[in-house]
Symmetry: C2
Subunit: 249 residues, 2 copies
DNA sequence: ACCTGAACACCGTTCAAGT
DNA sequence: ACCTGAACACCGTTCAAGT
């Protein structure tokens, strides 16, 4: 990730689309070793990433999952970076595209864009970790971005404001979801729920130098974390949308 | 990162603070090999991370920079994770704390919190990449968080809204800055400015399948990127603050 | 055309040993 | 108390070789 060719903008698989190699789906659904294929490899990568998480995922682990030598993968993908970029676009393909136009409100549209993005990333926590390392211009990502553009432009906002609105919604959603995923992963490592972890951390932080002696009160929320999270996520979206609206007069 | 002890919540150096080992600053400013110290190591780590970036930083590289064997570092820090967590708190120490109370507006306070956080992270791009992997409860981080709490509570918002407001500001700022850093890093890899990169990508994306044939117009902004970024960053903060304000009546 | 084996240049970290 | 050397269990990727 981000450790790529040091020169031009070949920064993406999608900009130098070598054709997928391997048997071109002759007799579909054959299975078993030997039936390698770029799509098969990428699909297996997504599943293994879901299983192991990004830090434990490796080319070697993927190869052994597919019952081949690590190096055989390199017949189909240029390197690990390219494979991950392909995997990201598979994930992007899972995002439900919100409707646009006539009946639907642009504010509902923007919210729906945020909601589907978050849901998809929560389903593949590794994806949000590497998301920023790639351009995300695969067919599925592009489809999503195009719809996002349409929705933003269907609003009464100026072109500049519409673009800023899209960025704002997206960057907030990115930050929120990344934080969310990190807590979930920390909780999983501690073999507990996010609530347990928050409880423990809150206790511990209370006794920290600089906290105990200052006047700050550190309270843990009295509400289950996932409910609070849901509410807070939408509350900030409300705030953003209200703010956007307000500029219209 | 995130590859830690699989059991309890010893998830942070700060929760199990082994005393820093090494000569306790006898005759300060001695320099040269042999004058190892936890602080010296962490400071060197920050500098090397600034220089190399996170992906190229390694315990071995740090050791060779300090003219010692890799393993000598492990006398002072438990592992790489702990070292990075310590480095992150050094960075947190660079954040300017906004004033709170009487004279100053809570909205200006929240904005200042976002601005200083972003500025600090832009100065140490590696920091934002690993930020989410740690609890960030070192003394400097805690000082910042405490001030953030004070500012939020100085607002007329309800306790719940004040907490949600803080999250919203922070998560938006995190998302915005992370995106910003990623673009800057991609530009650096391509040996060009962010503007050049955006230009090239925009051109390339235009010709992509699914873009060319659809009706979407992909235009590049007519304004230098850093200006646009500054404006957009603050515009979304405006929107959030307007939204928060609006709930008060 | 597709896959393998050996090898290279890396990692973080262990352990026992040196001073 | 502090530092080292050798070794282990990993990485991604090269290259030449097999079929």
């Amino acid at each position: 990730m981000a450790t790529k060719r040091a020169s031009q903008v070949k920064q993406s698989v999608w900009l130098t689309p070598r054709p997928a190699r391997g048997r071109r789906s002759s007799r579909a659904g054959e299975g078993g070793p030997g039936s390698l294929d770029r799509e098969v490899i990428v699909a297996a990568a997504v599943r293994l990433l879901d299983e192991l998480g990004e830090p434990k995922f490796s080319m070697r682990a993927l190869a052994s999952r597919l019952d081949v030598t690590p190096m055989s993968l390199y017949w189909y993908v240029a390197d690990k970076d390219d494979l991950l970029e392909l995997a990201l676009d598979v994930v992007a393909g899972e995002m439900a595209l919100p409707e646009v136009g006539d009946g639907t409100d642009w504010q509902d549209g923007l919210r729906a864009l945020a909601v589907t993005w978050r849901a998809t990333m929560l389903a593949h926590p590794w994806a949000i970790r590497i998301y920023g390392d790639y351009l995300n211009i695969g067919p599925n990502s592009v489809r999503y971005s195009a719809r996002a553009l349409e929705i933003a432009r269907s609003s009464p906002l100026s072109e500049a404001d519409a673009m800023a609105a899209l960025s704002a919604i997206f960057q907030y959603t990115y930050g929120f979801t990344a934080t969310e995923v990190n807590w979930a992963e920390k909780a999983a490592e501690a073999n507990g729920s996010t609530d347990d972890l928050i409880e423990e951390i809150t206790e511990a932080v209370r006794d920290l130098p600089g906290v105990a002696d200052s006047g700050i009160i550190v309270e843990r929320p009295r509400e289950p974390d996932h409910l609070l999270r849901e509410r807070d996520f939408h509350r900030a979206l409300d705030w953003l949308l209200i703010g956007m609206q307000s500029g219209l007069r």
